[in-house]
């Protein structure tokens, strides 16, 4: 069987969109495709470690670090978030209905050898350092993404 490629740009840091991204990513990998997920802007929040990592930052970068959600458990939803209450309700109902959590989906993506790439330019903008992101990532920019996308049959922007 030939090996096809899929790429996803995860621009959004919303819980619902992150879940959709990882369902498509892991689904594609399960179908035998080589999958690359490229995380940029708010999407980087999905990859942040939950615990605080002390790193040198400017005042502005510190503000971003404080205001932006740290990891999959802290994300809001894109509609009806109501200051985080919506996300809590969503997680509650998803748990009751035995829907796979974002954390489990990320672990599954790692097990399936999905290539997860953090956009270094967005990291600079938001002042996010490598130490603050989960392990096992690659770091790259637009050309690396486009090189992958040129070879892939499925390319999504979420």
């Amino acid at each position: 069987m030939e090996n096809n490629k899929s790429t996803l740009i995860v621009f959004s840091g919303d819980l619902d969109k992150a879940i959709a991204s990882f369902i498509i990513g892991t689904g594609s990998a399960a179908m035998g495709n080589q999958v690359t997920m490229f995380f940029t802007f708010w999407g980087l929040n999905i990859l942040r470690k939950e615990q605080y990592v002390p790193v040198q930052k400017s005042f502005m970068d510190k503000m971003f670090a404080k205001l932006l959600p740290r990891g999959p458990e802290k994300l809001g939803i894109s509609k009806m978030n109501f200051g985080g209450l919506g996300a809590k309700m969503m997680k509650y109902t998803m748990k009751k209905k035995n829907i796979t959590t974002l954390k489990e989906l990320i672990e599954t993506a790692q097990e399936l050898d999905i290539k997860m790439v953090a956009c270094t330019m967005s990291m600079d903008v938001l002042g996010i350092k490598k130490e603050e992101l989960i392990d096992g990532l690659e770091y790259a920019g637009v050309a690396s993404y486009l090189a992958e996308a040129n070879e892939a049959k499925v390319n999504l922007f979420i």
Binding site: G27, A30, I99, T100, L105, T108
Partner: protein, 75 residues
């Protein structure tokens, strides 16, 4: 039918039935048969779609009391 492996994926939601099926079939040899049980109603279309793309064959599929059963031969 000679079943070489049985996978219980009941209670799991999308995309896990497909992910678990992939992992289970990776452990089989070509020609061997996997029996899959799932309760995800989407799986009824998803498993054949997955098998077609991944190069395996669904020999039989049926629903029994809300459980979807598949017999998949590794390609």
């Amino acid at each position: 039918m000679n079943v070489d492996k049985v996978l219980d994926a009941k209670g799991l939601s999308c995309p896990m039935p497909v992910v678990r099926t992939k992992k289970a079939i990776d452990e089989l040899k070509s020609g061997e048969i996997l029996e899959l049980h799932t309760t995800d109603s989407g799986a009824f279309s998803d498993i054949p779609a997955w098998a077609k793309t991944a190069g395996h064959q669904v020999i039989e599929q049926r629903e029994e009391n809300g459980v979807y059963k598949f017999w998949i031969q590794k390609g």
